[in-house]
Amino acid sequence: MELSETTAQATAEAKSNAIGTYLKSHLREYGLLFALIAIMAFFQIVTDGVLLKSVNITNLFLQNSYIIIMALGMLMVIVAGHIDLSVGSVMGFVGALAAILIVQWGWSMWIAIPICLVVGGLIGAAQGYWVAYWKIPSFIVTLAGMLVFRGMSLWLLDGQSVGPFPKSFQLLSTGFIPDMLPTGYVADVLGLKRFNSTAFAAGVLSAFAIVWFGLKARARDKQYGIQGEPYAFFVGRNAIVSIALVFIAYKLATFRGLPNVLISMAVLTVLYSFLTQNTTLGRRVYALGGNIKAAKLSGIKTERLTFLTFANMGVLAALAGLVFAARLNTATPKAGFAVELDVIAAVFIGGASMSGGVGKVIGAVVGAFIMGVMNNGMSIMGIGIDYQQMIKGLVLLAAVFFDVYNKQKQS
């Protein structure tokens, strides 16, 4: 009797030990999630509930979409061991190009958009060429690019703002998915002015999908004896994420539904998550950033891979430029000014390492939301841009300090 008790105690102890070590090694990921929740809770309280109002949640997505789109590409650039300082300028330049093509020349957006994306890709490729094949530090190449393309958008716009864009182009950013379900009565049942069932259903479905794929991955891990996340953590994390998704979907549904740009953002996030975690291409980028010499000696074409990450960054910067121009409904020479810093900060807050080889897409996205919620919350509170910048800077430093401190404690 006594014996079995001590054994039970020992197993319980071992179990709590295992959870402890797991938590320690994944502190960063949970920390990030909790930081986002804590920051949202804080602003929800200090803004008297404005932060989580339907209209503001919708705004949050619209405001941050272009940052998140670029953070996806920046993550890969940083994982590959580089940096791209030119993305803000490239974004502004492509927005200006779109305005010239569509507004001034009257081209159809269906021709102009692909051209803009290709131009973005070419700009990225041109910078990647110097970095990959001539081994010029990316900091310098993209610093040059930042100046060049800032100058080019000024030149292109002749220092003026150009707009407005046609309605159809604006929808790229400010459009919403119409309610496609024949469930108009739901709003009446709930006693609401309006209720977009499609938006709500999409939220619920994606929550289900996340749990479903999570369970499947867990089952597979178990089959191969991989020590996965402790069950309690798995349940807790999924519960929080699912509730958040359903909550956000509900809020969106009671306003104007799903913003178009949220769809593109979500699709791109899933796509890049998959690309980085499940494809040979993604794996090789991590190896390249982790140890370029070893990667090269393993037969990986490191130059081409570096080149591609920059080209990819260019395309995403172009997309961000289009989204931004559509939202502002005008192209200005100042568009995208200093945006590269927000993008880079989002990626580092999301846990990427300056030396390359480390970082996750989902981290970069959460990092971007942390920055976005802070921007939004502080603006609602009426905090001046001066204090906003100081606070954002300190948050970035704190996040990276947390990383370094963790790493030191582990070793």
Binding site: R220, Q223, Y224, I226, Q227, N278, T279, T280, L281, R283, R284, Y286, A287, G290, N291, K293, A294, A295, K296, L297, S298, G299, I300, K301, G357, V358
Partner: protein, 506 residues
């Protein structure tokens, strides 16, 4: 006579592990004391305790130095008392000159202004002492590892060293550089410097040491006094591993098959100095199931030869032919070389072989990702299975294949590098110093793996600076000197003397 240093029942615990368990070490004044033990036995931890990296109070036990209780709280404390440790990874700054390096942190200066005249004069005296014929102005960058080691020792001498600790000083040195270093140690002994040498090379230990202390699993196993008894290598090995090692090289049925690879007319010029030829008209071959050795001094061009063949990973203006199974193959890029059936296992696993922060799984599959992928999408389950297979086959000691390789010991890291290259399914493996810096037990396992490969009919080219290893493992040995092959010996003909004489007479 009281000993210069006495460490009494030193115990050091890390969370979960007892790294040192009442270790005793007594070093007499003016002797060379060798500290030997397998990797992870606790030698380095003991030296960190001694030099104050782990400050007093961080461990149990007492250190008596020069007859009094010593409480070193930092490296500065111990250096002030003349205890100087030279680590395996040299701590020199490549782009500073020899003189600047020697007096770094200890500058010959007045009010913060460096006295260069005095600095150079003192450096010249020190270089004379260690027998290094270089100008004090020479950048450390341009020196070979052997000479850099001498600079480190000169730096130690500049600080009035009383107890010099050398952590595996010859691990990266060629035979002749090692010899010079050992001679220098003996000379310093004459001048009254006491040294502790940590080494895996037992012949060297036997050559210079007055006393040998063997550590195993964090405890002192034995202390042997060379002046009282004759110490044999077998005796040390027995104490180190706790068992008899009748054969240091596992037996292998030697049978070589058809010609597998032929290299002919191979010429390579230096990577950075295109006017310097580093490989001169080399011709050699490897048969299926054969282990072929390449012997030579450090800097003779062995690594350059291997890397230039492996997809031009080194060198300029490379010319020559490579045939596999009698057919010419294109090895102009690394992936073409891999596809042709070549694998090169680097001598520098940390910087060239592994992505240290990644897991064992990801390191192993890197050379051949398509094999565990469909349409560019990695099958994680299959990948894990592959890693598990190699973990078992190679006896990689790790709790999980999802461990980061940075956390593994040197021997286990080497097994991961070998696994990664076996996963590429090569026919010919070029192993560059496959046992450098790993302990006796792991070496034996690596030899076993090499034998297994040859039994499977693969061709193995083995580059090594340890001649006994080549003699014990190879069917044939090519001797290389200054970029050219100067001889070829069969296993029967080969001996250390013959190899050396081929190098020297050329």
């Amino acid at each position: 006579m009281t000993p210069l240093l006495e460490m009494r029942s030193i115990t050091k615990t890390f969370p979960g592990v007892k790294a040192l368990d009442s270790v005793n070490l007594s070093v007499k004044k003016g002797e060379i004391h060798a500290l030997v033990g397998e990797n992870g036995a606790g030698k380095s931890t003991l030296m960190k305790v001694l030099s104050g990296v782990y400050p007093a109070g961080n461990y149990e036990g007492e250190i008596h130095y020069e007859g009094e209780l010593a409480q070193f709280n930092s490296i500065n404390d111990s250096e002030d008392r003349g205890v100087i440790i030279i680590h395996q990874e040299l701590a020199l700054i490549p782009l500073l000159s020899i003189a600047e390096n020697i007096f770094l942190g200890n500058e010959r200066s007045k009010n913060g202004i460096v006295n260069w005249h005095e600095t150079f004069r003192s450096t010249e005296v020190l270089l004379e002492k260690v027998g290094l014929k270089e100008s004090p102005n020479t950048l450390v960058d341009s020196l070979g590892v052997g000479k850099q080691q001498l600079v480190e020792i000169a730096k130690a001498l500049s600080k009035d060293v009383k107890l010099l600790i050398l952590d595996e000083p010859t691990a990266a040195l060629s035979e002749s550089d090692s010899q010079a270093l050992l001679d220098l140690m003996l000379e310093l002994k004459e001048q009254g410097v006491t040294s502790i040498i940590i080494s895996h090379k037992l012949n060297e230990v036997r050559k210079v040491a007055d006393t040998v202390t063997v550590i195993r699993d964090g405890a002192t196993v034995s202390t042997l006094d060379a002046n009282k008894e004759k110490i044999t290598e077998d005796q040390i090995v027995r104490d180190m591993v706790g068992r008899d090692m009748a054969h240091r090289y596992p037996e292998r049925k030697r049978k070589s098959g058809d010609l597998l690879m032929e290299v002919d007319g191979w010429n390579v010029w230096h990577q950075d100095h295109a006017d310097r030829q580093v490989i001169k008209d080399i011709k050699f071959n490897v048969r299926a199931g054969e282990v072929v050795g390449i012997a030579g001094l450090m800097g003779s061009g062995r690594t350059e030869l291997a890397m230039s063949i492996f997809g031009k990973a080194y060198g300029n203006k490379i010319s020559g032919n490579v045939k596999i199974h009698g057919k010419p193959v294109d090895v102009s890029t690394i992936d073409k070389a891999i596809n042709a059936g070549l694998a090169y296992v680097t001598e520098d696993r940390k910087t060239l072989g592994l992505v240290l922060e990644e897991t064992i799984v990801k390191n192993i599959t890197l050379t051949n990702l398509p094999k565990v992928s469909t349409n560019g999408i990695i099958n994680h389950a299959e990948e894990t299975e592959v890693a598990e297979k190699y973990k078992a086959a190679m006896n990689i000691r790790t709790p999980s294949v999802f461990q980061q390789v940075v956390n593994l010991s040197g021997g286990n890291q080497q097994k991961v590098v070998l696994s990664k290259w076996l996963f590429a399914e090569p026919e010919i493996l070029i192993l560059d110093e496959p046992t450098r810096g790993i302990d006796v037990g792991a070496k034996y396992e690596i030899y076993g793996i090499i034998n297994e490969l040859s039994a499977q009919g693969k061709g193995v080219v083995m580059i090594s600076s340890e001649m006994p290893e080549l003699l014990g493992m190879c069917d044939r040995i090519y001797v290389m000197n200054e970029g050219a092959f100067v001889g070829e010996l069969t296993a029967k003909e080969a001996s250390q003397e013959r190899i050396m004489s081929l190098i020297v007479t050329e």
